[in-house]
Subunit: 362 residues, 2 copies
Amino acid sequence: MQTLTVDLGARSYPIHVGAGLIGRAELILPHLPMPRVAIVTNSTVGPLYLDTLRAALEDAGVSVLPIVVPDGEQYKNAETLGHIYDALLAARMERKGTLIALGGGVIGDLTGFAAATYLRGVPFIQVPTTLLAQVDSSVGGKTGINHPLGKNMIGAFYQPRLVLADTDTLDTLPDRELSAGLAEVIKYGLIRDAAFFAWLEENMERLLARDGEALTFAILRSCRNKAEVVAADEREGGLRAILNLGHTFGHAIEAGLGYGVWLHGEAVAAGMVLAADLSRRLGWLTVAEVERVRRLVRRARLPDRAPDLGLPRYQALMGLDKKVEGGRVRFVLLKRLGEAVVTADVPEALAAATIEENVASV
Amino acid sequence: MQTLTVDLGARSYPIHVGAGLIGRAELILPHLPMPRVAIVTNSTVGPLYLDTLRAALEDAGVSVLPIVVPDGEQYKNAETLGHIYDALLAARMERKGTLIALGGGVIGDLTGFAAATYLRGVPFIQVPTTLLAQVDSSVGGKTGINHPLGKNMIGAFYQPRLVLADTDTLDTLPDRELSAGLAEVIKYGLIRDAAFFAWLEENMERLLARDGEALTFAILRSCRNKAEVVAADEREGGLRAILNLGHTFGHAIEAGLGYGVWLHGEAVAAGMVLAADLSRRLGWLTVAEVERVRRLVRRARLPDRAPDLGLPRYQALMGLDKKVEGGRVRFVLLKRLGEAVVTADVPEALAAATIEENVASV
């Protein structure tokens, strides 16, 4: 097991990464104000890992309330959140009871937002079981739900007390979800870690083969990159926006297709290629560099083109993005491989050409 | 106009108290990151003050989105919150747009929670128009909504950028709501300000007659008391719990009768008398002191007895209280007039006797 600390002053917390962590209650116990938890999981992950986590905690004298919700991005909404509140209140969960998220990003976002708002805030622990959640959504404190008019529109910044990333859980992860997680891994290389990008070019096949050593390295390196950015800018005032590379396009793809048609990581992957291509049009990347990005994305078995929704639809969807300021869309782009910038100074024609020349029928 | 600052470090904010403040946009402008606001109000307060506030802001170049919700505690729920989100999203309100709460405690709590969670948090300003909201709910950062299983069960701690308490708004306040606000005013005297309690015994008739000078003094003194407590304990770890004097019983009364039958302040008033009587049973207050409390509550035209719901119902309702810890009910009681303590060390029989001997049919 290796440990990384996210430095947020009084709200600092550890991320443990390694094999077999779910069964180790002693890693969780120091973070519980009282021996009572609710484990929120879904109908896919629950059958795989809930019993192990639950038994470990109960053997240590912790009272456990399991809350199982349906699996899928389409359930990351106010209704499912309401079911979680109902279960907590019916069980009279108290203020010092802890909510544990056992699952992927959807479970983490939902459970984190429930923890942020139940009784005005209760302790929260993340046990991410997908690569995407381990390298991205369990680090940084973003929680929330979707709204029919946009993704993650309702939420809170709320930090966990602990993140437990058990690499064994990746053994049961579908190939498609492994690839979706790799999209965010590639992102860290692109935005601030050129050496890591080069390492990924060397080691992509090992990651796809689920080589434990390679995965552990990639998870830790990703978490460290994200933790450094988050520590410098907890509430997304500035720097943190670079973590959204590929997300302006990506959110439009997800919303345009309907949530759940493409995985979040798939949409981000295509979005990163578009961002790289737009960066080239601004004179920042070379054609060869854009091709390196496109090639690595493809090798990770991820889409390098956006679905053809038509340009007007993309423009409308991107106008609703949270990163809009004063009516102009702010893009996260690449000054070079390994250095991102945020800019609203993008000619509309270049953004339009980027979309039109990087779409494909799906 | 007088100003008090709530000292919360980077989240410190001013409370302005005085006449005619709603029309003074220059008090609000310095707190807006961009000239765009949504004013959330209700169908009772809106017709009285929305035009004044809106015109003042629009004359100063601020774009204003009015959101009018139904009036009443029964609308402080997930559905109304959803309507606010819908309106904000439909208008594409951005992250630097500010939410202004124009109304009483329900509007403040709802709007504050919407501000805490819309796009993971947007700026928030309180313009409280009831005495209760001016002395209590607009100070301290508690926001939230009710759940069928309990009051304020879902919420967040979220501080406003500014509180604008316009005393002119009290001219249109119904007598019953003025009294409800006085319950919280009396509370500050009881929990930490014996001199203020004595002042209230001298000046209750001036307050009921809406004497401007007396009201301004009482509002400022109340806000200062609350601000000092909140500054010392922003997230309700310890000291802040004394602000809940009367609320353990009071919440049970409100929930037991159904929200909206008694006003919050009325329930708190009866709850404070019960807390005083329970304090006497523990040997802390004299019979004469309990009578001083009861008499002042009555002079403020507030109930000094709880509705007769039956003891078992009270016990069940109080078990769900957020202040419960490890299964025991924690009470806020009085060591003397002007000094509150929080304790879970109350024999059940004394609490039961307090309820049984202080109920009346309603």
